[in-house]
Structure formats: C-alpha cells, structure tokens
C-alpha cells in the first residue's frame, strides 16, 4: 500500500514537470509555420495567369483570388469575466469595417475571431491557430497583455503583424523587447503613462501619502502597480504594502486584512473584472479599510465591475484613456456605435480598436499589389513595415505615429469617479449625466 502511494506521488511530480514544459512547447508549432507558410504561398503563385506578380518578399505574400475575401482576425478575450474588454474592442473593428463599406480593394472584408481568455495559455493557443491560417493578412489584438506574452512569438514567426488596441504593459513596446515582438504594434497607451498619471492623481489631487497596491499576477496588473509604486515614491509618498492574489481567488478578506495591518490611506488595484469585483465588494468589511480610498484602472473600466462590486463601487476612482481628449471624431464614432449595438460602450478601448483597424487597412491599401483580374498579393514584410511607418495618422483617439518599437498610441490618461453603483447607469460618454465622471486632470 505504501509503495502505491509513493508511486502516486512520483506520478504527480511527473505530471507537474510535464505541465511546466508545456509552456515552452507551445512555441514549437510556430517555427514550423514560419518555415512552411511563406513557401506554400509562393509555390502557389506560378499556377496562376501568365501576367502574375512575382513575390520577392522575405516573409512571402498572401494571395487573394478575385472571389476571395480579405481575411483579417481579431483575437482577445471574448469569454469569461473580462469578455466585455474584448467584445468592446471587437465592436471597434466592426465599425471600422462598416466605414469601409465592408470592402477593401474591391474584396469583401472577412473578420474572424479567436478567443484568448485573458491568459498566456489562451494567447498561445489562439496565436497557434491564427499562425496556421495562411489566408490571414493581418490581426487586431490581443486584449490582455498576458495573451500577447503567450502568443506573440507564434504570430511574428508566421510572418503576421498584430495591432493591439488594449495591451498596456510597458515592456511590450520597449526598444529592447526582442525579435519575437517584431510583428507587434499597439494603439493603446503604455502603462508607463497610466501608472504615472494615477500616482500624480493620488499624491496631488487626493493628497494621499501612504498607499498600498494589490495585483492578480497578470502581466498587466503586476507591471502597472509597479509603475504606480515607483512614481508614487518618486513624488514623496510611501508604499506600505504591495500584495498579490491568484487570478481565481474569491476570498479577499485575508489579504485585505494584511493590507489593513500596514495602514494605507489608499489602495490601488489595477486588476481585471473578477478580482476587481471581489476586492471592491469585500473591502469595506475589513476592519481598518472602511474609509480607505480605492482606485482601479482601465482593466475594470466597465459596467461589469459594478455588478461584481455592488454598492461599494460608488466613489471609487478608475483611470482610463481620456475620452474628452480624443482629437478625432469620437462623437461620430459613438453615434455609429449606438446605431449598431444600442446602449453604452462596454469598456475603454473601442476607439483604439477602430484606429488599429484603420491603420491596418491603410497599410494594406498602400502595399497590396492588385492584378488586372482582381487578384491581390499582400507582401508580408512590406505590410509590417508600412504599419510601423504610420505617421500622423488621423485617428479617433488622436494623431497617431508609430515608434520603431510599435508604440502608436496618443496617451492621455484621465481619472474617473464612479457616481452611481447601478450598472444600468454606466455611460462615461454621456454629456449631461456621465457615470463614471471625469475628475482629473
């Protein structure tokens, strides 16, 4: 009997080791695709009409026959607690397609979606699927920085380029981000700006001197709370606690008690919806945190937070891109959104997604080679370069120019205050009764 249990434990250990290897293994199919995809596309070309275009692009070309659509994909979180983040961005892409009349260079635009679940593993799975689809010309996504961390290598190696509307982890567009990120650009702001803005808001506007942070271990939250902490200390404040929970944690009272023991005046938790809801709902029940100020960020800038957090959300602060600072026709976008979907926007990055899709379309139009019979060739390297060369692009969120490391956003951050904890009242863009309402700057 005893030996049986020993064997069992060895089995458990072995399966753990296997699981640990799993993360690395996901990259394998990517490299396979890289070597296969371009050659396949190139060998296909000679079978066509005599006046064909000869593809000389290093990454190969995507050939679109006259009756085929221009295939783009959106990947991001479309299920689970954070689905509103991904769904919101997807709507932005759909509106951009509508504005094109559903057509690009005389071909229909086909949008498919891939759910990445806001976790690195989901990002890796979605990216592997997308990478194996040779009909794809470009991607919009992902939603969560974690998904990009998990999937970007597969996408880059397949010769694809993705533009994320909502990834904000600073390192994703760092000049030293590494070759895996060559196919990655974003229209979202980097959290280097957001964390700084929140720290200034807390220190200067709220006058808080002792702050604590809480994150959920995600690439986004972990980095953002650190940017906040660094800036808050630089301003002269004190960080009394930096705690973290698991992403599937539900009982926050123990960790909040630990935070309470450090005596903060403010708690910053730039997390996602599930954890954000649990923390908000439970924070006032913990002795010592009854009056502490609470701030979240763009990851929970959604009516879903009010459902999970309940009455405690009233008076909570949330940082987000500043809608009133968008220089483009944001009001026009909202009108189209209203007409197509009804109701308020779901989250913060719809306009960024709209801009991302339009940058992709502009780059496609610039580099695509159209044959006399309507066949299109899209050289992949040229498309990537065209996206990165975007300059003074008039988007809804602002005038966008991409840096060599893929930062295309025009970051203006504002802090909003939740005025009413009823999810039905959520409408940050309303003119007369905005909820949440912009309070800073």
């Amino acid at each position: 009997m005893k030996r049986l249990y020993t064997m069992l434990s060895v089995l458990v250990l072995a399966s753990m080791a296997l699981a640990a290897c799993g993360g690395g293994a996901t990259e394998a199919p990517a490299t396979e695709v890289m070597t296969e995809a371009p050659t396949e596309v190139m060998t296909e070309a000679p079978t066509e009409a005599p006046a064909m275009y000869e593809c000389t692009d290093a990454l190969g070309c995507v050939k679109i026959a006259p009756d085929e659509p221009v295939h783009i994909a959106y990947w991001g979180v479309l299920s689970g607690a954070d689905a509103s983040l991904g769904e919101d961005s997807k709507r932005g892409v759909e509106i951009a397609i509508d504005d094109k009349g559903g057509q690009l260079l005389g071909h229909d635009i086909l949008l498919t979606t891939e759910d990445a679940g806001c976790v690195p593993e989901g990002g890796a799975t979605a990216a592997a699927k997308l990478a194996s689809d040779t009909s794809l010309v470009g991607l919009i996504g992902s939603s969560c920085s974690d998904e990009t961390v998990g999937g970007i290598a597969a996408i880059t190696n397949a010769g694809l380029t993705t533009i994320s509307p909502s990834n904000t982890r600073p390192v994703l567009t760092d000049p030293a981000r590494g070759p895996d990120y060559a196919g990655y650009a974003r229209t979202a702001h980097s959290d280097a700006f957001q964390g700084k803005a929140v720290a200034e808001f807390a220190y200067n506007f709220l006058g808080v001197r002792k702050a604590a942070t809480l994150h959920d271990g995600s690439a986004y939250a972990e980095a953002l709370q650190q940017v906040f902490a660094d800036n808050f200390v630089a301003l002269g404040g004190e960080i009394v606690a930096q705690e973290a929970v698991a992403k599937d944690a539900t009982d926050m009272k123990p960790v909040l008690t630990t935070i309470s023991a450090a005596g903060p005046e403010l708690l910053y938790y730039p997390v996602f919806v599930a954890v954000g809801g649990f923390v908000t709902a439970q924070i006032r029940d913990v002795a010592g945190l009854e009056d502490v100020k609470i701030i979240g960020s763009d990851g929970i800038f959604t009516a879903d937070l009010l459902k999970g957090g309940g009455a405690n959300t009233q008076g909570m602060y949330l940082s987000s891109p500043d809608f009133s600072a968008f220089t483009g026709d944001y009001a026009g976008f909202i009108t189209k959104h209203e007409a197509k979907y009804g109701g308020s926007t779901l989250s913060t990055f719809h306009a960024h997604a709209y801009d991302a899709a339009n940058i992709l379309f502009a780059a496609l139009e610039a580099v695509a080679v159209v044959e006399a019979d309507g066949t299109i060739y899209v050289p992949r390297t040229a498309l990537r370069e065209a996206i990165f060369a975007t300059k003074d692009f008039k988007g809804v969120t602002g005038t966008l120019s991409c840096s060599p490391s893929g930062d295309c956003g025009a970051p203006v951050i504002a802090v909003y205050e939740i005025m009413n904890s009823d999810p039905a009242s959520w409408n940050p863009t309303s003119a007369d009764a905005p909820n949440p309402k912009k309070v800073y700057p």
Binding site: G80, E243, V245, D251, K253, P254, T257, G308
Partner: protein
C-alpha cells in the same frame, strides 16, 4: 518473502526522503509562525478575523465536500461533476432571488428571502444531479473504476458549457440582502453578519444531513449499501433508489452551498464551481473520504489554513506576496495527507473487503 538488498536500500532512501519532507514542512511552518508572531504586525483582533474568514469559507467547502464523500462512500467513485452541481444551484437561486428582489420580497422578509432561494437551489441541484446520475453514471455501474471517473469529468464539462451556452460567459451578481449588511459585536469583536449567518446555515445543513444518515431508515439503508451492496440488496434494499437519493442529498447540500457562496461573494458564472469543487474534494480527502464528519472537519481545517496560512507562516518565512500561494497551501496539504495519512484526519471507514 525475501527482498533483495537493492530493494531494501530503495525503501530506506524513500522513507528517509519522506521523513525529511515531513521534518522540512513542520520546520517551515514552525519557523514561519514564530517569526510572524514575534514581528507583531497583526493585532489579536486581526488573527480572530483571519480565523472567522476561514471558518466561513471552510463551512462552504465542507457543505460541498459532503457530496463527494457520500457518493464515494456508496459507489467508490469521485463525482467530479459535483463542483458544477454547486454552480447550477447558485444559478437557480440567482434567478429566483433576482425576481424576488424585484418585487421587494427579500427586503420585507429577510429570513424567507434567504430560505426560499436555498430550498429552490437544493431542488435544482438535486434534480440535475439525479439526471447526471441516470445518464452518465448508472449505465457505467460495474465498469472498471476509471470509467465512471472519466464520465464524471465529461459531465462536468457538459454542465459548464451547457450553462455557458444558456446564460452566456459573463458574470451575474447575486442581489444584496440588506438585512445581512453590517456586523454584530460578539464579545467585543466585530463579526460580519453575513459570515455568522452563512456559517450557522452551513452547520444546520450538516447537522440535518448527519441526522438523516444516522437516524432515519433511509440513512440506515445508505449505510448498509455502503457496507456491502450485494448483501444490502439481499436484505431487500432497493439499491438504485438509495444511490439516487445519495446523489440527490449530496447535490442538495452543494446547491445550498452555492447560495451561501453567492451571498458572500456575489459573483456567479458558469465556471464558478471549478475551484470550490477541487477545494472541497481536497477537504473530503483531508477529512477522510467516505466519512461524513470527516468532510466537515476537512472543510473547516482547509478553510482556516487557507485564510491564516499566508500571513501566519508564509509571511514569516519572508515570502513576498504570500497570498498568491494560497492554493499551494491547500494542495500541499492534500499531498501531505496522501503521503502520510492516506485515510485522512478522521480516517476512512474501510472494511477489509473494500480496501
């Protein structure tokens, strides 16, 4: 039986390693505890809070664990769909409670507003569990043990994604019960009303279940089937009926736990049963699977360890962000108990025939 020298050396190495492991864990817990206590970061009220939080979560784990343990006791199978049965109860209660809340019924009759959704959730969970038993388990009775286990995992996925299909992947929020807001002052310590009520409700349910199993005719039949199915059948007990009622009662407990959980944590979604299900399974094994008081003890011990552990011993060991390791505590306990006391804290009631 003679053993070779090689085997004996291997045995020695293995038991040496296991002893080292035991000593290491105990030393880690002791050192961490001493360092934390001597640092004096937490007041005694805060320690009591940690324990109270743990008891609340633990009593919910215990309620779910009862279903695992009862089904195991009778069928020797782990019903991995049990966590999702818990989820179905929460959904059922959510829809009823939202409707009741809309009519203002809950505000007027807080006690009934609490009881009616619980009863409804028990009904929903029990019906779904009986269906699952009929479709996924009964045809496989008598098959090798692994077969119903795989079928249970399939049933679990089916329930999760069926609910996702019906109600979408988003979150629902259980309506707040105004009467349960705020806290009571008990012996100078403020304890949240909702925690007191949830814990009491869980204990009442457990007492009810225990008396059903110990003092009713059906309970006697259950125990008989658990002892020996064939002999029980010869004594005129309808085995199928007893198995179905075991599933139904276990599921009713999980349904009630689903409501209590939703009242404490608010958020409801199709995947909410997964983690509590695994934790309750851990609790059942911890207490001694097949043993009803064991499931209750296991649930409470697990809940308290999870709540107190990160701040008591992990923080003392200088581990940064200890709360990320909460699940590690739970599953280390599972591994420890499997290694060192496979029969659980209170011991599985095994006769030689079953072992």
């Amino acid at each position: 039986m003679r053993t070779s020298l090689g085997e004996r050396v291997l045995d020695l190495v293995v038991s040496g390693f296991l002893w080292g492991f035991r000593v290491l864990i105990v030393a880690a817990i002791l050192i961490g505890t001493i360092v934390t206590i001597s640092a004096g970061k937490y007041t005694s009220e805060q320690w009591i809070d940690f324990v109270v939080f743990g008891i609340t979560t633990g009593s919910i784990y215990a309620l779910i664990a009862l279903g695992y343990t009862m089904v195991y006791g009778i069928l020797r199978m782990i019903n991995f769909a049990h966590g999702d049965i818990f989820m179905t109860g929460a959904f059922g209660a959510y829809f009823l409670a939202t409707w009741l809340n809309g009519t203002g019924f809950i505000d007027k009759n807080p006690l009934l507003g609490l009881l009616i959704p619980i009863l409804f959730a028990m009904l929903v969970s029990a019906s779904i569990a009986m269906l699952v038993e009929r479709i996924a388990y009964r045809p496989l009775r008598g098959a090798p043990r692994l077969v119903p286990l795989i079928s249970a995992i399939g049933a679990s996925f089916f329930l999760e994604y069926a609910f996702r299909g019906f109600f979408g992947p988003g979150k629902y929020a259980y309506p707040p019960i105004k009467a349960l807001e705020g806290s009571w002052n008990i012996l100078g310590i403020g304890i949240l009303k909702v925690q007191v009520i949830v814990t009491i409700a869980a204990f009442v349910m457990m007492a009810l279940l225990y008396s059903i199993v110990m003092y009713t005719k059906m309970g006697k039949a259950m125990r008989a089937v658990s002892e020996n199915k064939d002999t029980a059948a010869l004594m005129g007990i309808d085995i199928n009926r007893i198995i179905v009622s075991t599933f139904a009662i276990g599921a009713a407990m999980a349904g009630a736990a689903g409501v209590l959980y939703s009242i404490v944590y608010r958020q409801i979604d199709y995947f909410m049963g997964f983690t509590p299900g695994i934790k309750a399974f851990t609790a059942a094994v911890l207490g001694g699977i097949g043993n009803i008081p064991g499931a209750m003890v296991g649930g409470l011990v697990l809940g308290i360890f999870e709540s107190v552990g990160p701040s008591l011993f992990l923080e003392g060991l200088g581990i940064p962000r200890p709360y990320q390791l909460k699940d590690v505590i739970a599953f280390t306990m599972l591994v420890m108990i499997l290694l060192f006391r496979p029969s659980g804290i209170l011991g599985e009631r095994l006769t030689t025939k079953k072992a």
